[in-house]
């Protein structure tokens, strides 16, 4: 048992982080919020880097890596708040022409929602009757499905969980950074236990979710994947809220990055399986263990 990232995995994670810092920095994030629309150039750059073809076999033009590596990739995407139907396109690689290369944007219904429906080239699944809604997340246009949501492959839930994990890690980092710098009453607010304890709990939630997400990626177990999403949903949403709290008044402004994390975390929580559904699935697994 060597349940730690190996050198290749560390390098992959660092490489993606570096690519995203270059191609989707704070300015690009701001521009995406203000301008909307999917950046096709960025999509192709992701395709070229192997983001979508990561798990395709090498003989099919892919990178030939597995679910653990995909989870590291999507963790970084979540950390950077990268917009677009990333998971649907990743899962379509090798099945939909151009998806692996980043030439085709693929979306799919997930839960009761479809994201990026108007901008996508291909829809996998039934989006009949989908109605446009004003999305709470300024970086994700949404349609609502009349019939509610369905399941989908467990790896979809796991990759969503990985994005949530990345977001939780990022908001923890932001809160800690702010708590070290922001001074009140003549000292950094991070010296106050009330703030310190918020930050400590953020790390605890993130690290517990990390263990669950990484383990599910290694085992590929569907029940474990669903459990990982439950923990990662909680981590992403609660960490974003606590980060907002640590930021104080600044956290309530449009300028701070925090609200974007919170809104996206809420959106991902609505993807399959929602926390209520995930708890039911865990209860069913418990029944099996009886």
């Amino acid at each position: 048992m060597d349940f730690q990232l190996d050198d290749d995995q560390r390098a992959l994670k660092a490489g993606v982080r570096e690519l995203l810092a270059r191609r989707f920095d704070a300015t690009a994030l701001r521009a995406a919020v203000d301008g909307g629309g999917l950046d096709r150039g960025l999509w192709r750059a992701l395709g070229e880097s192997g983001f979508f073809a990561l798990r395709l076999p090498e003989e099919a033009g892919g990178v030939g890596l597995g679910l653990p590596e995909a989870v590291l990739l999507f963790e970084e995407a979540g950390r950077a708040l990268l917009p677009g139907p990333l998971i649907a396109t990743h899962l379509a690689a090798g099945l939909v022409e151009g998806a692996a290369e980043g030439d085709t944007v693929v979306t799919a219904p997930d839960g009761g929602l479809v994201e990026w429906l108007a901008e996508a080239d291909v829809v996998r699944g039934d989006a009949t009757g989908a109605e446009s809604i004003r999305s709470a997340d300024p970086l994700t246009p949404l349609h609502r499905l009349p019939g509610g949501g369905d399941g989908g492959p467990p790896e979809r839930a796991l990759l969503t969980a990985a994005e949530q994990l990345g977001s939780a890690g990022r908001t923890t980092e932001l809160a800690v950074q702010y708590a070290r710098e922001r001074e009140q009453f003549g000292q950094p607010i991070g010296a106050f236990q009330a703030v310190k304890h918020l930050c400590a709990q953020m790390l605890v939630r993130t690290e517990v979710a990390r263990a669950a997400v990484y383990a599910a990626a290694v085992t590929g177990d569907p029940v474990e994947s669903v459990g990982a999403k439950l923990l990662a949903d909680e981590a992403a949403v609660r960490c974003a809220r606590d980060c907002l709290q640590v930021y104080g008044g600044m956290g309530f402004t449009w300028e701070a990055e925090v609200h974007l994390h919170l809104k996206r975390a809420w959106l991902r929580r609505e993807r399959w399986p929602t926390p209520a559904r995930a708890r039911e699935l865990q209860a069913a697994a418990l029944e099996e263990a009886m």
């Binding site: 048992m1 190996d6 800690v176 310190k196 790390l203 990484y214 995930a278």
Partner: protein, 377 residues
């Protein structure tokens, strides 16, 4: 990332499992929780069996992974836990193994492993709980002995212990972390009074110790004089590290039993209760993975568990309380029946967010040592 075990590790697991299946049915019945001599005999008897079978050394010296497998398998099989041997095996033993002299290791380790001697812990004091470095029990050098006076509290198994790992203040003028010394105190020395303390769970789980000019040979000092704080930190990192492995396995077993009970009495049909149990299933699954992560990391960093133990303890202690709250939801009015094991366990679980460093102290540790937030109020 790899969650599989090596062939040797799987072989260890298989042999252990086979041995447990053979030996567990031959164990004597469990003693009454209030029968201290009975508990000592039961726990040390189990330790002796482990010793004879070659498993006694697993708590220190073995790889962290073997220890993980050992704790997982013994708990899964329903074998006795360390019990009265807790301090000897998980605290004093590893500390003496790491910091003691050759002579001290020869004197104290073997009897702990054989189950011949039981240790207790004299760290906390009435005015030094989570702020352990505030301890005041005084030790004054007199020839070849330290003369110790003061009071200790929360001392589990004090009534049946042979030795006490004792923290004393040897330099009252030094900064509070620097004037502390680690001593092994024989419990039959004159001047020691043991007074049991009754817990809210109704048991006399631990005791107060009153020390009145107890003479302890200088040769019983582990580590240098006034270096006891550093020695203690070695011990505590073990306590917060993998000491909870068996208990997480036990919690997962309790959860399955709870589901069974909920089916039986119909509470499973209540979606609030059912989902509560489902959430705990995910929770303890994740905690088990976190243990594997920490164990794996400690093997990378040389064996001593790091501050990751604080992250684990913070979450686990609350999860365990939630588990027994869920048990109460399943039991309904029976949750008020002290004849029910889960009711007693629910009461006991209240100590988890306090013992071995309160949750608030653990949060300070995580914030300051991992996140690098400034020290302050």
């Amino acid at each position: 990332m790899d969650l599989t075990y090596t062939d040797e590790e799987e072989d260890f697991r298989a042999r252990l499992r086979e041995w447990l299946a053979a030996v567990l049915p031959t164990l004597p019945p469990k003693p009454d929780p209030l029968d201290w001599p009975g508990r000592r005999a039961y726990d040390t008897g189990w330790q002796r069996r482990l010793y004879d079978a070659g498993y006694a050394r697993v708590h220190w010296g073995a790889s962290a992974t073997l220890r993980l497998i050992f704790l997982e398998e013994t708990e899964r099989a329903g074998a006795p836990y360390v019990g009265a041997n807790f301090v000897g095996l998980l605290h004093a033993g590893p500390t003496i193994a790491a910091e003691g002299t050759e002579e001290q290791r020869a004197q104290w380790l073997e009897p702990v492993l054989r189950g011949d001697e039981v240790w207790c812990q004299g760290f906390s004091e009435p005015d030094a709980g989570s702020d352990l470095a505030a301890l005041r029990t005084r030790a004054v050098r007199d020839g070849d002995a330290y003369v110790v006076s003061g009071a200790k509290i929360w001392t589990s198994h004090a009534e049946v212990a042979d030795w006490c790992e004792l923290l004393v203040r040897t330099d009252p003028d030094a900064p509070k972390h620097r004037g502390i010394t680690w001593l092994a105190m024989p419990m039959d020395a004159p001047g020691i009074t043991v007074r049991p303390l009754r817990t809210l769970a109704g048991s006399d789980e631990f005791a107060q110790l009153f020390l009145d000019e107890v003479r302890i040979p200088v040769g019983n000092r582990v580590g240098a004089e006034n270096d006891g704080w550093r020695v203690t930190m070695v011990t505590l990192s073990y306590e917060r590290g993998t000491a909870f492995v068996g208990e997480v396995v036990a919690c997962r077993r309790v959860l399955v039993e709870l589901a069974r009970a909920a089916h039986k009495n119909g509470t499973w049909d209540d979606p609030v209760i059912r989902r509560q149990l489902g959430a705990l299933h995910a929770e303890f699954g994740a905690l088990w993975r976190l243990i594997q992560w920490n164990v794996s990391e400690s093997e990378h960093t040389g064996g001593v568990p790091g501050v990751g133990g604080s992250v684990f303890k913070l979450r686990y202690s609350h999860a365990r309380q939630e588990l027994y709250d869920a048990a109460a939801a399943v039991l309904g009015p029976d949750a008020l029946d002290l004849g029910r094991e889960w009711t007693r366990d629910r009461l006991s679980s209240l100590s988890y967010t306090i013992a071995a460093g309160t949750s608030q102290i653990q949060q300070n540790i995580v914030a300051e040592r991992i996140l690098g937030l400034p020290k302050g109020r």
